[in-house]
Symmetry: C2
Subunit: 500 residues, 2 copies
Amino acid sequence: MARYQDYPLSIYNSYNREKEIFTPLHEGHVGMYVCGPTVYSNVHLGNVRTFLTFDVLYRYLIHLGYKVRYVRNITDVGHLVDDVDEGEDKIAKKARLDNLEPMEVVQMYTNDFHNTLALFNFLSPSIEPTATGHIIEQIQMIEQILNNGFAYEVNGSVYFDVPKYQEAKGNYGQLSGRVLEDLISNTRELDGQDEKRSPLDFAIWKNADERHIMKWPSSWGIGFPGWHLECSAMSTKYLGKEFDIHGGGMDLKFPHHECEIAQSVAADGVAPVHYWMHSNMLTVNGQKMSKSLGNSFSPSELMTGNHHLLKKGYSPMTVRFFMLQSHYSSTLDFSNDALDAAEKGFRRLNNARKSLAKLSYLSGPMDEALNKEIQSSLNSAYLNLSDDLNTAKAIANLFDLATRINSMAGGKLKPGALSEGTFNRLKQEYEQIINDILGLRLEESDESGMMDGLMHLLIDIRQQARKNKDFATSDQIRDTLSALGVQLKDGPEGTSYSIE
Amino acid sequence: MARYQDYPLSIYNSYNREKEIFTPLHEGHVGMYVCGPTVYSNVHLGNVRTFLTFDVLYRYLIHLGYKVRYVRNITDVGHLVDDVDEGEDKIAKKARLDNLEPMEVVQMYTNDFHNTLALFNFLSPSIEPTATGHIIEQIQMIEQILNNGFAYEVNGSVYFDVPKYQEAKGNYGQLSGRVLEDLISNTRELDGQDEKRSPLDFAIWKNADERHIMKWPSSWGIGFPGWHLECSAMSTKYLGKEFDIHGGGMDLKFPHHECEIAQSVAADGVAPVHYWMHSNMLTVNGQKMSKSLGNSFSPSELMTGNHHLLKKGYSPMTVRFFMLQSHYSSTLDFSNDALDAAEKGFRRLNNARKSLAKLSYLSGPMDEALNKEIQSSLNSAYLNLSDDLNTAKAIANLFDLATRINSMAGGKLKPGALSEGTFNRLKQEYEQIINDILGLRLEESDESGMMDGLMHLLIDIRQQARKNKDFATSDQIRDTLSALGVQLKDGPEGTSYSIE
């Protein structure tokens, strides 16, 4: 029996606004699509949080026994400035400023994206398709939408006809909870809007003028696809016309995800996504994180502490742990105090897992109540993860278990108080939940912490040897260290060392 | 004055079979294209050597002051089994065997490729385009070739007409040194060859049957591009119809690179590449490396030593250093002895660079001859690198310099024997050549080596303390280590330790 039968997953479906039991289209298989980054600038922490939510979901689905195809795209063309259809393609603009070929910009920021995610211990998705790699598929989808009468061509551009779609299908606005009439009355007229029949219509193909570098031929002329289209075309190609889960940041609900639904329904006649999931935003000291407010920091600033709002740097796993201590659907507030607390909590968790790894089972008088408690905490951790991925509550269960593990490691509790089965389950699943599902690995800084520990021990021994006039030992220490490239420096406040 | 004017680069041009002074098309700029991997299996060491040659060339061109656009593609479709046009697409076949979507296979092996290259400290190219991402550009190129009369369509496939091309242009075979008549007489008839007018013709578009998963629409029907085409289409797109350098493994000369030239000339009327460069093969104990001979090992087997032909494992930088000790155009033979020697040599080089980093200039009586010698060794290193990238000779220059650096570090030679300018040049350029150009970084294993050194020192001290019945010290060592997670184990052959 697969684990997903023991701990059936429920998901808050943004489309229906309620928690639903997750039932995949094909038993045992899950298709999942997540909107990836637009690679025209460095990844920011909000992106990291969004992708973290779906990294943990991906890990958990695999752990539950599902075979998962996880598609996360790279937007390397077509995202227009200010999220409106007019204006310059963001990537082409950046390229001209830097005097680079657009694909050089794409390469640079794709590398940055991958490096940052690797730092935070993300799994690679199954497929990472690019928008420029699927122009043909996008053109085919435009043709379908045109053939079905839900789009129209003007001067080499093709627009999606929202009012006509709404009349026929009626679900535009359902995901984001918007009413068409309100949207229309709130729309300001922008340059070039005159090609559109309604201000709500959006481009699915844009005619390219000479200034555009990224453009392709089509039956409507030279141009490029609208931003919303790539996700519809690529999710259909790799996951089918209908698939299980679509995720992204809250800010993508409208217009992006709303348009995705409309495009797929207009092309294929079916709603593409069974479960929509949206990850919430980051705030800093209670304020929205934004570059213009000066309170937005990059992953590397967070590591180094090199930002005026940060007291110090935090390791990638501390930040990961910090983010997982909130439920993905809540806003998450960054503050030095909250990060310090997370650092402390994460150290406690790591100490427990290291202690547990060293413990061996020895039979002894069994404590029934304790057995039940341990089993129930482990079950709760899974049930919480299965309850719309409640990592915050699952971590609380891990802390309960840490208390018991520490008692065992400290000798107050014998491993024999547990049945062998309970002990082995604890030993295996505690590490699995932390490492495999939450993706919290032990960090290498543990190694330099160990080196520091060894050095202090040696300095201490050398001090005593000198006090005892055992110069053979004190010289041996100094000479061996020097050969290893470590220099000792004796000063009024004791001995320090430096590695060269 | 840019450094490339001080040390003008010469390149052995495979096309003309002679060493030529390198003159880029646009002063100060270099466009370089290298055939990347086909991502249907793990990277092997032969690939690593080829890409290493061009990684060092890329680094050196940048160091010389050129602005370089380096394009290295990913072949994710279209490479047919056995390098003939008939048969199954390699990637589609692997996908069906694994019951995977082809793009999942592509993602898996692209990740493997990137991880392996990162291990060996490769720089990312400026652009890494994929074949599937450039189907439109390939279709456009086929149209041009058809319009110019150098291809013909049969049953939804398009073939390049080699005899007709040869009659008009006369250069087919020039790169690989083959004569058309010999090629024809050596060609066996294969299945499906009947569509071709000549056995030398090659597919630039293949009709896809139902079994094919990777296929796209075109005006000749549903199909996929021939393998040779992607490099022509992508080099033209990102570097122009004519560009400076095209590199690849020796085994790609024919038919791949020969076909690339023919395609570009047939489409655009100009020979695309000014300098062709080919990297030579790897052998093992004198034999060709091949999976069927069982003498082929993967990068990870080489690291771990987990292969019957390897005595032990070697670090990635040792392997990189080993490969750079041969000129790229020579075959390179792997043997335990050669790798051991490289490991020793590399350690000597690293010791010199570490010593040099610690030296400070102090004025003293100057030694004119020594000054000249140091300046001349540094000049030689550059001249050797500029002489068709002779890394082997440049490394010999570095060893000469290591001798002098060691004398200074050992106190036999005062840094003041050099003029301050010579000393500073040595200090800067020695590290630049090793680190920036040859890409040989200091390895982290240095840190675990240090930890190991500290542990042996502590075990030694504890041993003596126990001999002297100084149990306070021996207990202090054991307890502190245990708190740090290090367990000591006393056995008949001495004390060992393990980290938990």
